[in-house]
Symmetry: C3
Subunit: 378 residues, 3 copies
């Protein structure tokens, strides 16, 4: 990685991480840490460190814990425990150079830091993203009649998004049904019938296609930007059904309403870029992929994401979950990847330096500020 003015500018830029999660506040056992740094699991006879992301942790995070680059997994985990979670988070979050976090609070099988706690640890600002499936499932858990579900969900969602600091909603429809859904808004009768079936089974995980469609259309009614998980995730995903091209008809029907943010997208970053090019409301990031592929490949993924994408449509996210290593690595991989590709274009005179600096600032902060109407938006 060579330096140059674009990297300097990106290193000086306070990033807006428009989609991430909190960190586990408790100290982590080796097993727990290994489980958190993979989308798979920790399997007998192997270590999550034997992977691109494991290598990146040892290379880039170890020095922040006063260890040599490429410290062993054992050394890393011992030092991590020795410092304690609070100090580890403080160091890694400070090194991330992220000023604003938009935190998805709807998935927390472990005790995670709240947005406010994350903001304090990072010395930044945090906003909240409401996961709509969690809202819907809590409505079912509280008990509701099938015919009241649609209203109950809408009211609960409105209450959730009116809390201070909420800037967006999110759906994990990609996990629940995929995007190959009927794009039309379901009728009241269809929703009631589907809710009847779901509630009769005790509610729980919302995966009924009619109710997922209804959830997406409720997001339109809420009027806030909608984040959609796309592509890479754990083995609960059917990857091919999360190809965002399946959203095309729904995007036609909802054009002129809410901004749509396609998250992660790998390996469908080109499909996402196509949608961001032809639909005014669509934006994308390659979060999650950034730390999993590491700085060694983040540029390659960004190159594909940016092949045709208008410069106002790319955002930065880490999609970090659980460990602050990922908040840091996402930022590092984004800065190095984007700087590398822009600087090379400047060096080969394909791009003017002022333009390159503008693209960097837009993708790293400004585009997110605009979409979410964050304070400080010019």
């Amino acid at each position: 990685m060579s330096g140059g003015p674009v990297l300097e500018a990106l290193e000086a830029l306070s990033l807006v991480d428009h989609h991430c999660h909190g960190v586990v506040t408790a100290d982590l056992s080796r097993q727990e840490f290994e489980d958190l740094i993979t989308e798979g699991g920790s399997w007998p006879g192997s270590s999550s460190f034997d992977s691109p992301v494991g290598v990146a942790v040892r290379r880039h995070c170890a020095p922040l814990l006063d260890l040599p680059r490429h410290a062993s997994a054992d050394e890393y985990l011992a030092r991590r425990s020795g410092l304690g979670p609070r100090e580890v988070h403080r160091r890694l979050l400070a090194a991330a150079g992220t000023g604003v976090f938009c935190v998805d609070t709807g998935y927390a099988p472990e005790r995670l830091s709240t947005p406010a706690e994350l903001a304090v640890a990072a010395g930044g600002t945090a906003y909240e993203v409401v996961r709509l499936e969690s809202v819907a499932e809590s409505v079912a858990a509280r008990g509701v009649e099938p015919g009241e579900y649609a209203d109950g969900f809408r009211v609960a969602a409105l209450e959730a998004v009116r809390r201070p600091g909420v800037v967006a909603v999110k759906s994990v429809a990609a996990y629940r049904t995929g995007f190959d859904l009927d794009p039309a808004r379901p009728s009241d009768a269809q929703v009631t019938e589907a809710a009847r079936h779901w509630l009769a089974g005790g509610g729980g995980r919302l995966a009924d296609p009619v109710l997922v469609r209804h959830l997406l259309w409720t997001a339109v009614d809420l009027g806030l930007p909608l984040q959609l998980h796309v592509g890479l995730g754990d083995n609960d995903i059917r990857l091919h059904r999360s190809d965002p091209a399946h959203l095309t008809d729904w995007l036609h029907l909802t054009a002129g309403t809410i901004p749509v943010l396609l998250l992660h997208c790998w390996p469908y970053q080109r499909q996402a870029a196509y949608l961001a090019t032809v639909f005014e409301q669509v934006h994308l990031d390659v979060g999650l992929a950034l730390h999993f592929v590491g700085p060694a490949r983040s540029r390659a993924v960004l190159e594909e994401a940016l092949e045709i994408t208008p410069f106002r449509k790319l955002l930065y996210s880490s999609d970090a979950y659980g460990v602050a290593e990922f908040h840091f690595l996402g930022a590092l991989a984004f800065r190095r990847g984007l700087a590398g590709l822009l600087q090379d274009r400047v060096d080969s005179d394909e791009l003017d330096l002022p333009d390159a600096l503008r693209v960097a600032e837009w993708a790293g902060a400004h585009n997110a500020r605009q979409v979410y109407r964050l304070p400080g938006t010019s």
Copy 2:
């Protein structure tokens, strides 16, 4: 971009652009120009210039209008208007170094230059490509009985392709239904029934799956090479349904009949390359993608397109529409991208220079001359 003998050869080679459109003959307002240089639209608060293709226009076209490299959009548009469309077209087309244009004349919401006008402006030769959907729709517009539609379409298509200078037909089935169609030739009764439904609705946009299949099979009967739009386009496409792998069964059924040219293909260039490798009749290009990704990424797209493709199967097209900037940028991005990848293989001794020069000449001109049986074919 380093130079070297392959780039020199490609710069000296008069290209055959086997698929493009005319240029808008009128002077263009800023809004009109911005609309023409994107597959999206020009959206409030943003500019089409803030994109990879906008950057490429300012970098590579500005000097041809006597402006500095990376001139601003304002400067560019002012100078463009000052010179007037005729002079702008003349300069850009001359710089393209394209000797032969195969012009799709079937899509012209604006007044476009005719093939003859394009040829004159470029100092080259132009042939015509007949868009079959336009022929079918004009048959419906003239009025036809459902039972006469098949005959009427065949006769009209035959008349159209017998006009002097017609070398191929084209289908935009990708836009209308996608390629996930029943591959079999529909029966007369099926065609009549589908035509009845279509005509009862007043004709117009042909998007009935039976009639689209019938159109593809009529192309087989016509005997001319068939160009198929694949992948990247405006938001009328359902990208995943344009994956050319869906054509496999139809390609089996039509093997031994007509050449099939897969146009653009991005992001399915590898799928297209696979088909070109295993079906004698299939060829591909990465037109359209070339100017949208610009010289900064055209090599990467060509690398994927050429990973396994036999060297006689890659063709050049710009798929330029409306603005001569794209006829020029397509040629530039093709030459630089192909030269870069071939020269590097020569430099690392993976490829002999005479072989590299042969591949360049084949892809840039010879393969198209052969497929379309153009004069001057050796």
Copy 3:
């Protein structure tokens, strides 16, 4: 291709080629050779040498036959015939540096070398992979009642895998139906009914979806690692239906049973990498693609395959069939591609050299030894 310690280590490493075929033992005519070096065919007016793989043969194999690099196809074929198949195989296999071959013996339209013959020619060891479709089809060919088919197939498969040296089974379900199948184990009644239909038609090519599912579940019962052809192949494939993401539900149902090896995978190497990341039992290689894309692009394909893949999940295979050129080119392209990407990461300090050497050794030999429990496994 620069050198460096990683390439040195990979050149010194005796590879395990975990999936390949034998070589044609007879002398080959030009036509026969050209047919063997393409997944297409040899078409009038063109030569299979005019392709990336043809260029690689002339560049890298010619010197092993005492010819200059980039010798012409004519010179190459003349010299190849002059030396005779035995000597050609000996030289190319020796140069491959492969110590262990796992040979798929279930596809042999030509007379191919047996695993033992291949081992002798290469100075290595050979194991056998049993192609289950061939077993099933031979059960049908011997005559069986529909109600006895399931038992007959199981018994025949058990007999086949109990032969000495058998280490795995393989399925070409990708060719027969694709992977978009009902993932559930079919009932006995369903199997009998499907067998009735198949046998009534005279047996032959097994392509019934129920029987293909039954075959995959029989593989689970056999308990050996299962190799699955994925992606690139001849035109008998419907490429999109071989996207391995379609296997997700089946992988959930069979988790905890047998290792699954995704072969070739191009152009779905990222989808395969995702599955290898989230399912303990899944492994992948990019065999077949290696020689078809050649050393000029093998690194690019490996980069994508390794973006997120745990280091214990990547294996080496050539998938060479018929000509020893491919056993050699696969090994060459694998070594150079993997060494190039690892060495660059070492040089940019993204990866420690000992880690790089470990990844190289794992992918080139150790991972396969573990999965197949080969002698010498540490």
